[in-house]
Every structure is written in structure tokens, then in C-alpha cells.
């Protein structure tokens, strides 16, 4: 929202020495976000009003004229290409040093003295678009320069509040001594415009007009706010027109006021009004529409004007119905588009037609036109939620909808209507009120006073603010405060009572923000010494990340929780199992991931050309519809889907034939660091993306915690990955509940060890883990067992493999004799033959 400083100043007695920057800073610190301050005069610096004294054809150019221009203190020679330049004309003259935009396009360019077709030119006579005034003075012709002759201009005595200036004060008689006046001042643009972030206003229905912002500025600078004055609308003894308003759904429309006026002459607005609207970025349309917009920008209460002839039932009877739309009903709006409405939309209708989409946009049928002579002004209050729903659904974000959806004060309706009527009378001297003022209403504001003690402020803020100051601030903001010793009874003003302020905490904020958040000294809270409960899952996550990144060269990725149906299919999964978003951002990623590994494999696919060796991991949540998780609320038994925290790892390396082993080795390393022993068991019927012959389930203490393996060749065939891929998935929730650090010390033996190797042939299907188990438990003298060679191929019969283990024997009681070792070793050999049919080599 744009806010004009001169407009604000109409309502506050701010000293001239207060700069726009100071006001901007205070507003930022206490009220709203100010994105920028636009000093209009700054952009027009060096541009003055000039009077063309002479204009003759350029000797060497048909379309150029050589002009002498009076700029007060001097006369300047200017070469001008404007089609409409003539002697006596008042123009916008940009002197050397001023900045202009050539033909209204591109960057601002600083003017220098120039020679045009051999003749010197000391500045430029500008078109409106070249000095940023295109919206105020639209170009009729490309070659046209801005003609100020018939524009009412302020003189050198300065700008004095446009709104109260008589509109008919023609200054053109004394035009000549306007020459040399800076254009910004002449046009009343020596103003600063605050650009306020609308988002920062979303909770403040009272700040969507200048008067509301003025109230804040008055409080922030401890100045007085002038009263918002309006004249009561005359009560007619006998009205020319009968206006009947019917509100079908008062909840959707808590207040509807309307009045008819006749004798209207639609025409352009006076310059002061155009200028005021232009300053805050609103285009001038005609006097009636401009008045409605002006009142909205002034008070913050949107208005609408209808051409009354479109609402006539008889010569003297007019009827307005506020009702829900009928499903499928159409309306052509002021933006030229046709909208299909439904029963959730509220419309303003005549007997047979939708005239406006309530609070959102007017219809084209009842729009004010050049021939309109009778109007109806609407000043209403609509249900904010309903307005937002309609405006969002239809994509119509008007200034009006933006305001109504904030919960406006219904008490503004009469003020806005009175202001509009007053202005119409001023701008159209023949206009009269032609009907009784309709006022349909049914609303209640939260006017119950808040009881609050002065000490409450200290208790919440941490420092004393002082009763006088508290009461002063609240009063300046429009709260009515009654003091009884240190007890305050505070009545909320209607414009804050719609939703914004309702409890004592709200009052604390009001006082605190106006007094300044800066005024509170920082302090640290005191707590008893309690060691916080440790989040073991989080601790485990952090340990794992550190181990994988530092000890096993894995890089951590973060993936989206959303996946594409293609990903699910590529990894052999059924889409039906997935939890789906109702409104995915990208239509192609509607599903919540069920597993962690597919994303990592796709990362690997994308990074393939990054290097010969890629190791990635991720820790994140997966979403599973079949199992249940946390409750949706304490009062309900309904449960959310289970959201397990999982670790995923992938590894591939150029020419690595069995990446499985590096992955399991990394798993072992992880286990050693965590103090957990992982046991691998062959998966009996692998159904998903794991290689059936090269995958295993991971157990801790007999409990399944994850899976490790190579990617299924069929799945891999559908990916653009040339090397074999190993993957690992661990449920950290499961692992976390199974970790029992059990790393006990084994006493050192003072007696020597004896090392014996054993090598044998055995069926390929016999697993190392089982062999080690047998050897380890064969005799108490076995201290350790290590596999040191595996061989298949030449000299090994088909279906067999050659294994070699190094067994270390030791006793804690004595030095072993050769016989004792021999006996134990023989026992092992025998056991291996019996159990696995090994052939000792």
C-alpha cells in the first residue's frame, strides 16, 4: 500500500522538521514494514514550469522547433520536437542536470547541454512519460509534450493541503508568474510516498487508509490526531427516489448503507484529486469513481458507485438486493472478464441482474458512464472470510477485496458515505441527495472492556513503563481508558475490535510497540539446573552422520519428501500404496516417499560423471500409510501415518564387481563406532529392488533393523547407471531402540598366542558367518578367527569356493603346548567337515 506524507499531514500536527525518513523509521519500529520511501520531488529535481516565449521552425529540421523558454530567472534556448509546442504554453522543462527517461522508456538519463542539428539546446521540454507523470497526464499522441497551461498549478508560496482547496480556483490567469516554479511543487508532488508491505498490515484492518496510518504516526510521535470530520447527510422530507435495500444473509453482510444522488455530471476529476490519487498510484477514471476510491484510501473503507438508472423498477423506485449468487450465475465485471459464480459468492443485485460481486468487484452493467446522471453510493461491510474465498477462487485481488477480508469496522460505513456525498456535492455543484439513506445492519463488536493492572505490563515485559505513559499511548491509539488507582479499564475502539484486539496481551503489545521494543533491556531467564532429557534418536543421527562422512567418505544429501510416479515405478513399487498430496506443487511429484534409497540411487544416477567412486547417504523421514504413528490430537484416537526416520546409503565405483562388500564393511565400521553388532541374514524371498543373491537383512540382537544389498539387475536395467550399485537402508527408530552399548573389556593374557591357518574347499552356498560361528565356539582356546583368503575359479571345482582362515589360540591360564593346540585345531577341522563337508587343502 502506498501512503502519502502530505495526505497524512492533513490529520496530524507534525512539525515540518520531521522528515519522511524519521516517520518511516518510527513506523518500521512500531507498526508496519516500510519497504521504501519514494520522494516524488527527488525524481523531478531540475524540472521546472517553463513558459514558451517564442517557437520558430528549426532552420535545418522540419519537425523541430527552436524555442525560448522563460524559467523565471532566465530564458533558455531549447530545441523541441513536440508536435503541440506553441507560444504562451506552459511546459515541463527539464534543465541541464535533470534526469529524464527518453520517450518514457529505459533508464533515467542525466541531461547535458546538447547540439541538435547544429543548434544549442539547454534542456528539454518533456512529455509526461519522460518525467514519470504518464499516469497523471496520459499521452494522447506520441509526439506530444506535456501542456500545463490549463492545469492548476501551485505557486511559489508552497503547497497547502489540496483537499481543502476550492476546486474551481483557476490559477491560469496568473500563469506567467508560475514560470520557474519547481514542477514537483507546482503539481503538489513535493510529497513523500511510503511503500508499506501489505503483509505487515494483514492483522490490522484499521491501517488500510491514510487516517489509520495517521493515528499510528500521531501515537509514535506523541502528537494529536485531528478528528475525522464529515457532514451528516441531509434528511429529506420528501425524497425524489425511493431506495429499498434488502439483505438476504446478514451474516455475510453485517451492514449495508446506500444513498441515491441525482443531478450528477460525470466528468474528469479536478487536478487536486487526480494528483492525490496519482501520488498513491491510483489512476483517475472520473469524478464519481475517483471519489469512491479517495474515500477508500482516506478512511480505509471501500465504497462502490452504481448508475442508479440500472436499478430502477419504476420511475421513482430503486431496489438493491444483497444475496448469495445462484450456482452458475454469470457476471461481467469492470475488468472486462466474465465470471461464473456459485452459491458461496455474495452479490449485489437488481431485480433481474447481478450488479456487483459484493466487496470484490463491480459489474460492467451498472458502471458509472459519461451519461450517468443518478448514482447510488454503497458503503457496506462484508464477511471477511467469504470475501477472501470468493476473491481467491476467482483470482480477483482488488483493493476492495483486500480490505474487506481484514475485518473492517462496520462503524466506518456512515463516515465513508457522508464523506463521499460531501465530495460529490463539492465536485458536482448541481448534485443533490435524492433518497433516504438506507442502513441495513446487524452486527456486534467486542466492546467488553478489558480490565488490566499496571503491574501486568511489567510482568509481561520485564520492565516498568509507567502508568502515565501506558494510559497516554492507549489513549492516542483510540482506546478509552478509565483509571482506578493502578487498575485500568480499557475499551477497545470499534476499528480495532473486529478481530485484532481482544485480550490483555494485545494491550501489552500496543503499549510495548509504541514505546519501542528497543526500550526493553535484554535479560536472561533463570532456571534451575536440570540436565535436559537427551533425544537419543537425534544423537544417533548425528553420530551416524559424523561416522559416515568422516570415517567412510560418504557425502550427505537432502532429498525432497515428494517423488514422482515414475520413481515409484522404476523401483518396482505400486503407486496405490503411496500417500498422495491433494495439491502438489508440481503435478509430477505428488507422492510421499515410502523408502529412502530410491532418491539416493537417482542422486547417484545424476552424479555419475562426477567421479569414479560415489558414496552418498541421507537421513530422513519416510511415510507409510499401512502403519500408524502419532495421534492427530490428544482428544482423538485417530492416528497419523507412521513416519520412520531412515538412513539410506548408496555406493558405486568404476569396475567394482561386488560393491556389496564395501557396503557391508562400512556397516561393520558403523557398528564398531556405535557399539552395535550387526548380523546379516540372507533374504529368503526378496521382492523389491534388492538383488536376490546379493542382499541381506540386518539384525541387531535378533531384531530386524534394515536391509543391505546390491540393486536388482532388472531395476538397474531401467536406470542410466553403468556400474553395479550397493544400497543400504536402516531404520533409525528401530536401531535406536536396540542399541545397548555392550563393549566389555577382555582381560589381557600374559601367555603367548599360537597362530594356525586352515584352508579348505567348501560349497559356495556355505556362509562365512556360519563357519566363523563354528570355529569360534569349537574350543575355549580359540581367541580370534579371521578370514584372509577367498578364491573361486581355476583349480577350484565348480560350485565350490576355497576359504582360508587364520585362527589364533591363547589361554588366560597357561602357555599352550603344541599338543593342546593340535587337539583344538583337529577338533575344528573335524567339526567343519561334519557340518559343512569341507575338504581341507
Amino acid at each position: 500500500m502506498l501512503v502519502s506524507l502530505s495526505w497524512l499531514k492533513q490529520y496530524i500536527d507534525l512539525p515540518d522538521s520531521t522528515t519522511s525518513e524519521e516517520i518511516g523509521e518510527k513506523l518500521k519500529a512500531g507498526t508496519v514494514e516500510v519497504d521504501g520511501i519514494n520522494n516524488l520531488a527527488k525524481n523531478l529535481s531540475g524540472v521546472v514550469v517553463g513558459r514558451v516565449v517564442s517557437a520558430v521552425k528549426h532552420p535545418d529540421a522540419d519537425k523541430l522547433k527552436l524555442c525560448q523558454v522563460d524559467v523565471g530567472a532566465e530564458k533558455l534556448q531549447i530545441v523541441c520536437g513536440g508536435s503541440n509546442v506553441r507560444v504562451g504554453m506552459l511546459v515541463a522543462l527539464a534543465k541541464v542536470g535533470a534526469k529524464v527517461r527518453w520517450h518514457g522508456e529505459g533508464e533515467l538519463v542525466e541531461l547535458g547541454p546538447a547540439k541538435i542539428r547544429g543548434l544549442e539546446s539547454f534542456g528539454m521540454i518533456c512529455a509526461s512519460t519522460e518525467i514519470g507523470l504518464g499516469s497523471m497526464f496520459p499521452l494522447k499522441d506520441e509526439k506530444e509534450i506535456l501542456d500545463l497551461t490549463n492545469v492548476s498549478l501551485n505557486g511559489n508560496e508552497g503547497f497547502s493541503g489540496l483537499v481543502n482547496r476550492p476546486s474551481d480556483s483557476s490559477l491560469s490567469a496568473q500563469n506567467d508568474d508560475r514560470a520557474g516554479v519547481p514542477l514537483a511543487r507546482a503539481l503538489g508532488l513535493d510529497d513523500a510516498v511510503f511503500e508499506i508491505d501489505n503483509k505487515s498490515l494483514s492483522n490490522r484492518p484499521d491501517l488500510w487508509g491514510h487516517y489509520g496510518i495517521a493515528r499510528e504516526v500521531a501515537a509514535l510521535f506523541n502528537k494529536n490526531l485531528l478528528e475525522y470530520k464529515t457532514k451528516k447527510i441531509v434528511k429529506l422530507k420528501k425524497s425524489a427516489l425511493k431506495l429499498k435495500v434488502e439483505v438476504k444473509d446478514i451474516k455475510m453482510c453485517p451492514r449495508y448503507m446506500a444513498v441515491a444522488m441525482s443531478g450528477i455530471k460525470v466528468g474528469p476529476s479536478p487536478d487536486w484529486l487526480k494528483q492525490k490519487l496519482a501520488a498513491v498510484g491510483v489512476n483517475s477514471i472520473n469524478n464519481i469513481v475517483d471519489i469512491a476510491n479517495f474515500v477508500m484510501l482516506d478512511l480505509g473503507s471501500p465504497m462502490h458507485a452504481f448508475d442508479a438508472s440500472k436499478l430502477r423498477i419504476t420511475n421513482y423506485e430503486l431496489r438493491i438486493t444483497v444475496r448469495p449468487a445462484v450456482n452458475g450465475e454469470m457476471m461481467e465485471a469492470l475488468d472486462g472478464k466474465k465470471y461464473e459464480l456459485n452459491a458461496n459468492d455474495l452479490v449485489i443485485a437488481s431485480e433481474d441482474k447481478v450488479l456487483a460481486l459484493a466487496g470484490v468487484i463491480g459489474g460492467i452493467d451498472s458502471a458509472i458512464s459519461d451519461t450517468t446522471t443518478e448514482i447510488i453510493f454503497e458503503s457496506a461491510n462484508f464477511n471477511p472470510v467469504n470475501i477472501r474465498k470468493t476473491s481467491t477462487r476467482l483470482g480477483i485481488r482488488t483493493d476492495s477485496a483486500q480490505r474487506f477480508e481484514k475485518s473492517l469496522d462496520p462503524n466506518w460505513c456512515p463516515l465513508a458515505l457522508q464523506k463521499a456525498v460531501e465530495l460529490v456535492k463539492r465536485l458536482c455543484p448541481g448534485a443533490t441527495v435524492a433518497s433516504v439513506t438506507a442502513d441495513e445492519r446487524n452486527f456486534q463488536l467486542n466492546s467488553r472492556p478489558i480490565e488490566i493492572s499496571v503491574d501486568y505490563f511489567r510482568k509481561k515485559i520485564g520492565v516498568e513503563i509507567g502508568q502515565k505513559k501506558i494510559v497516554g499511548i492507549l489513549t492516542k491509539l483510540g482506546f478509552a481508558v478509565k483509571e482506578k488507582k493502578e487498575k485500568l479499564t480499557v475499551v477497545i475502539p470499534s476499528w480495532r475490535a473486529t478481530k485484532d484486539v481482544s485480550i490483555a496481551e494485545d494491550l501489552v503489545e500496543e503499549v510495548l510497540r509504541i514505546n519501542g521494543y528497543d526500550s526493553v533491556p535484554a535479560a536472561l531467564p533463570e532456571f534451575s539446573i536440570n540436565s535436559p532429557e537427551v533425544n537419543t534418536l537425534r544423537k544417533l543421527e548425528r553420530q551416524i552422520k559424523k561416522i559416515l562422512a568422516l570415517a567412510s567418505d560418504y557425502s550427505e544429501v537432502y532429498n525432497y519428501s515428494f517423488i514422482t510416479p515414475e520413481t515409484a515405478v522404476r523401483f518396482g513399487d505400486e503407486i496405490a500404496k503411496y500417500i498422495e498430496l491433494e495439491n502438489p506443487i508440481a503435478k509430477d511429484r505428488p507422492f510421499l516417499r515410502r523408502e529412502i534409497a530410491p532418491g539416493l540411487v537417482e542422486n547417484l544416477e545424476k552424479n555419475q560423471h562426477h567421479g569414479d567412486r560415489i558414496k552418498l547417504f541421507e537421513i530422513g523421514k519416510v511415510f507409510n500409510a499401512e502403519e500408524s504413528g502419532a495421534r492427530i490430537s490428544e482428544k482423538s484416537d485417530a492416528l497419523l501415518p507412521r513416519q520412520e526416520t531412515k538412513l539410506g546409503m548408496v555406493f558405486s565405483q568404476k569396475k567394482e564387481g561386488i560393491p556389496y562388500y564395501e557396503m557391508t564393511s562400512d556397516l561393520t565400521k558403523l557398528g564398531q563406532e556405535l557399539g552395535v553388532e550387526f548380523e546379516l541374514r540372507r533374504i529368503e524371498d526378496s521382492q523389491n529392488y534388492y538383488h536376490p543373491g546379493r542382499s541381506a537383512e540386518i539384525f541387531v540382537g535378533g531384531n530386524l533393523v534394515g536391509t543391505v544389498g546390491e540393486l536388482h539387475p532388472v531395476i538397474q536395467a531401467g536406470l542410466r547407471i553403468s556400474e553395479k550399485v550397493a544400497i543400504l537402508e536402516l531404520s533409525l527408530d528401530e536401531l535406536n531402540s536396540r542399541i545397548e552399548p555392550d563393549n566389555k573389556y577382555r582381560p589381557l593374557s600374559p601367555y603367548p598366542t599360537v597362530v594356525r591357518d586352515i584352508a579348505f574347499l567348501v560349497d559356495k552356498t556355505v556362509e562365512h558367518q556360519n563357519i566363523v560361528g563354528v570355529i569360534q565356539s569349537a574350543d575355549e582356546l580359540v581367541y580370534s578367527v579371521n578370514l584372509f583368503d577367498v578364491f573361486e575359479g581355476d583349480n577350484v571345482p565348480l560350485g565350490k569356493k576355497s576359504l582360508a582362515y587364520r585362527i589364533t589360540y591363547q589361554s588366560v591360564k597357561k602357555t599352550l603346548t603344541a599338543l593342546e593346540v593340535e587337539t583344538a585345531h583337529n577338533k575344528i577341522t573335524r567339526l567343519l567337515s561334519d557340518k559343512f563337508g569341507v575338504e581341507i587343502r
Binding site: 519428501s561 498422495e580 498430496l581
Partner: protein, 350 residues
Amino acid sequence: MDQKMIIEKIKKDFLAELAAAENSAKLEELEQDFFSRRSGRMTEAMKSMKELDEDAKKEFGTLINELKREMVVKLEEKKNILDNIELQGAIANEAIDITAPKLPAEPRGHTHPNTQVQNDLEDFFVSMGFMVLDGPELESDYYNFTAVNIPLSHPARDMQDTFYIKGHGMDSDSPWVMRTHTSTMQVRAMKKYGAPLRMITPGKCYRNEATDVRHEHTFYQLEGVVINKDITFAHLKGVLESVAKHLYGAETRLRLRPKFYPFVEPGVNGEVACFLCKGNGCRLCKQTGWLEIFGAGMIHPNVLKEGNIDPNVYQGFAFGLGLTRLVMLKYGIEDVRLLESGDLRFLEQF
């Protein structure tokens, strides 16, 4: 030849050759030349003694022994000198390129930049006695909105801001959402732990927002809550100031301004003086001198009530940090999408 002359000659030759010996090999040769048992010049001279009479023998013997002692000492001195020179040479020869890396290169892994920033903050808060909590990312509409005082009609609940789950849409009996903030954990934590409470909850959040250089539908936040009987706005300021100083140094200034969040009252927008330009204005802070880091405020009594905590007895504050934003600021990352790109060229920089 006169015996004395022989000795003089030997001595002269020895000294000359000794001076000329430039390395230990030459010195060895020299030693052999004079002292070899078979053919050394000193051996020869000794042998020639046999032909002398007793007196001459004695005299010559004395002389030659003196000479021998002198020569041995000189030889040893020279040897030390040469050894030392040669050692220095060898040491110089062993000099290596101390900047060259070990080969083959050791592969190294990397944690995600968000992990690093998050861990640092977790440690900081744990050191101040905060619990670190975690919760569902697919959350009920209740914990995401209603419990934190966001009423049904609030724009945040619109489809364009929030991901709803199919079958659990906005208008269903049991709406489910992808949590739009970590504030979901406020009421969960209050209900579980009651008051007094000190907790943070970092995590993944989602907003239905088109993705571009500055916007992501997936991002990370860190939320914190402090509740006790006497927690004030001044405490809020003190804790945020501590965080700001932890992040950007002891001199960092903090600025609080009003901002509306439904779950706090008063609401706070916390900014720190830009760490890059020290508040003078630069590209990073968009010339304002300030970086918006925190959203915060005193917890709304409705939220405390929802968490079964009596707002007449307890009060507290909540604050939120955009972890994703902190990461981008810290490392000067300009495209937010890189964080979730899985691109190793990016990840390996951390």
C-alpha cells in the same frame, strides 16, 4: 736419505694431501697411502728403522711416533669435518615438496551444510539446558493450525500455502497437512513435558510455493520455546541476543520490531546487524544493514491453554529461525535449490 728428512717429507706431503682431500673416499685413500700395513709410507719408514743403530733408532722412533700421533689427530679432525659436510648434503637431498598431497588421494565425505548449521545450534541450545525435540512432518491440521491459534478462516490454511493430503483435504473430517512450520511441536511439547519448559525443535517444513532461486517448497526451521512462571519479553530479547552473538560474534547488534504471528502476542520480528557490512548496507542485506533472522513473540495464552498450561500461572516465549536462510547467509549461497539438488559439486564444498 736422512731419516729426519724422510719424516719432514712425510709430514709435508701428508698435510698437503690432507688439505686437498675433499671427500671421505679421498680421505680413505690418504689414510691407506700413509698407514697401510703393507705399503703405507709410515709403515715403510718404520721398516727402515731396522737398519739404524740403537741411538738413531731411538731418536727416529720418538720422532716418528710423534708424527704418527699428530697425523692421527689431524686425520680424525678432517674426517669429522668431511662427515659433517656429507651429512648436510644428504639432509639437503632429502628435502621434499611439502605441499604435494599423499598419493593416492584419500577420499573424504561431507555432511550437508544444513546439518552443520543445525548441529551447531543444537549444541548451543543444549548447553543452555534446552531439550531437542522432533515430530511428525505429515501433521494433523490441529497441531499445525488450530493448536497454535490459527483459526479456520486464516489465509495460511489456503491451498496455495499448505500441502494437504489426498483423502484428508482441507474440508475433510480429519485434515492432514505437510507441516508448514516447526511450531507444530509447541503444543505437542507442552502436553508431553508441561511447564517449566525449554526446548528446541529443528526440522523439515513444507509450503506450497513455486520453486525458484529464492523460494523452496521444502525448507528447514528451528523453533524454540521457553516457559516458566516469570518469563518476560526482556528474556525473549536476552535469549535472541545470545543466539545472534553465538551466530555472528560478540559485537552483533539485535533489533526487534513488531510482527504479527497468530501464536504469539506481542509478536516480534528479530533482525541482526548484517555480519558482512556491519550494518552499513550491502548486497547481502539489500542495503538495509539488517538481516531478518527471527520470528518470535510471547506465547499466546490460547496456545498455552491448548498445551494444558495455565496462562495465569505460566508465561513464555517462542522463537523460530529459518535454518535454510541461515545456511544461505553463512555460505553466500544464492540459489536455494542447490540445497536439495543432491549435486556433489555443491555438497563437496562443505
